[in-house]
């Protein structure tokens, strides 16, 4: 009896490990398997078409159904990911994107400052997103303080604590 139970527990543990392994391999944390490459490279869209506030605001903004509906009112592909998108649109539900790049509330980061005034390309901080076929699940560079300060040092920008901290 006892050995049988241990055997069963062992199998269960192995099974859950295997599931964890497969999940870790995929690492997709986004609700829809969004494909940047198909939009940017194959359909000539600009970053600012979707991340519309990157030049005007602190937040670049992540687009949602009201932005996708322009082209995805009806299916344009036969992909599973698009049908997930269409069900969000039909139910008028907000897509719960998980924001991957985050700085804590005590630090001030502004896209306008860097993209518009600093004339920095998105790729410097986010990598060649336009070629990503998988949705973004981990940052290209962790937005930590040393990273901010190294570039500021190089470009002769203020590194006074109160330039960023609040």
């Amino acid at each position: 009896m006892k050995t049988k139970r241990i055997f069963l527990i062992g199998i269960l543990m192995l099974a859950s490990l295997a599931i964890a392994f497969v999940n870790a391999d995929k690492r997709n944390i986004q609700p829809i398997a969004y494909n940047h490459n198909k939009h940017v490279e194959e359909n000539d869209m600009e970053c600012l078409d979707c991340h519309v506030y990157a030049e005007e605001n602190a937040q670049a903004s992540i687009p949602n159904i009201e932005d996708c509906i322009v082209c995805h009112e009806e299916a344009v592909t036969e992909s599973e990911s698009e049908s997930t998108l269409l069900s969000y649109i039909q139910e008028n539900k907000v897509i719960p994107w998980r924001q991957v790049y985050v700085v804590p509330d005590y630090a001030y980061f502004s896209h306008r400052r860097h993209v518009k005034l600093g004339e920095l390309d998105c790729t410097i901080c986010h990598g060649d997103v336009g070629r990503f076929a998988e949705p973004i699940s981990e940052p290209f560079v962790e937005p930590v303080m040393d990273w901010c300060m190294d570039c500021h040092e190089e470009k002769n920008v203020s590194n006074d604590c109160y330039a960023c901290h609040r």
């Binding site: 001030y108 306008r112 109160y162 901290h165």
Partner: protein, 227 residues
């Protein structure tokens, strides 16, 4: 380099407390219950000091808004073992919250008693959670905090001026208390700018600084009340 500073006209101040409320909301200053308040754990970056002069019935009530004086020679920064507080290039006494280890030396060193310590993890009632200002951090427990002259407003104002390709102008940057004062008793500006209004006001014969004998050189001036 600018020297941001303030002049408060006590003739105009009615002690209404609008600045106190505006500051508390703007800066996500934690709400402390009545019991803790009775233990002197109230959290305020701006407070009204009320004094009574004379004997009943001839009592004269005086109000004086008190906040961080942003001293040019600050006693608090000298005792900080980790440089979480220092006088920055704009003349603002900075408090870098994640750098603070909560030793409270600076709080003890401040002769104006305007620093608060977070004894508790801040919590907002459900209805007020949406009112938390996203431009300002929510401080964790165990750190000292105080008025920052609304540094987040300066950061944004600098960016706005840069976007419009011009220098910062008077009025671009004012803290929340100044903006909200219904009698316009609080003036704010750059003491380093010879043309600024605050620069003229601080040379007014009514102008004084609190505990000026200490040599802390506060950048908050008051214009004394005259009948």
């Amino acid at each position: 380099m600018p020297r941001w500073g303030m002049v408060i006209d006590l003739n105009k101040c009615t002690g209404c407390g609008e600045c106190v409320a505006a500051c508390k909301v703007e800066n996500n200053v934690a709400i402390v219950g009545p019991e803790e308040s009775a233990n002197e754990r109230t959290m305020l970056w701006m407070n009204i000091l009320t004094t009574y002069e004379g004997e009943y019935p001839d009592v004269k009530v005086r109000h004086m808004p008190m906040l961080c004086m942003h001293c040019e020679n600050p006693p608090c920064t000298k005792v900080c073992p980790v440089r979480a507080t220092y006088l920055n290039e704009d003349g603002i006494v900075a408090q870098v919250f994640p750098q603070c280890i909560g030793c409270r030396y600076c709080q003890a060193a401040c002769p104006y008693t305007v620093k608060s310590f977070n004894w508790y993890k801040p919590e907002w009632p459900e209805e007020m959670k949406k009112a938390v200002n996203p431009d300002v951090s929510v401080r964790p427990d165990g750190v000292v905090e105080k008025c920052t002259f609304c540094i987040h407003r300066l950061q944004k104002a600098k960016e706005q001026a840069a976007a419009e390709k011009r220098e910062l102008q008077p009025g671009d940057y004012i803290p929340a208390c100044v903006e909200c004062c219904p009698t316009k008793a609080i003036y704010f500006g750059d003491f380093d700018d010879p043309k600024s209004e605050v620069n003229k006001l601080k040379r007014n014969p009514r102008a004084f600084q609190v505990l000026e004998d200490l040599g802390t050189e506060p950048k908050v001036y008051y214009l004394s009340e005259v009948e």
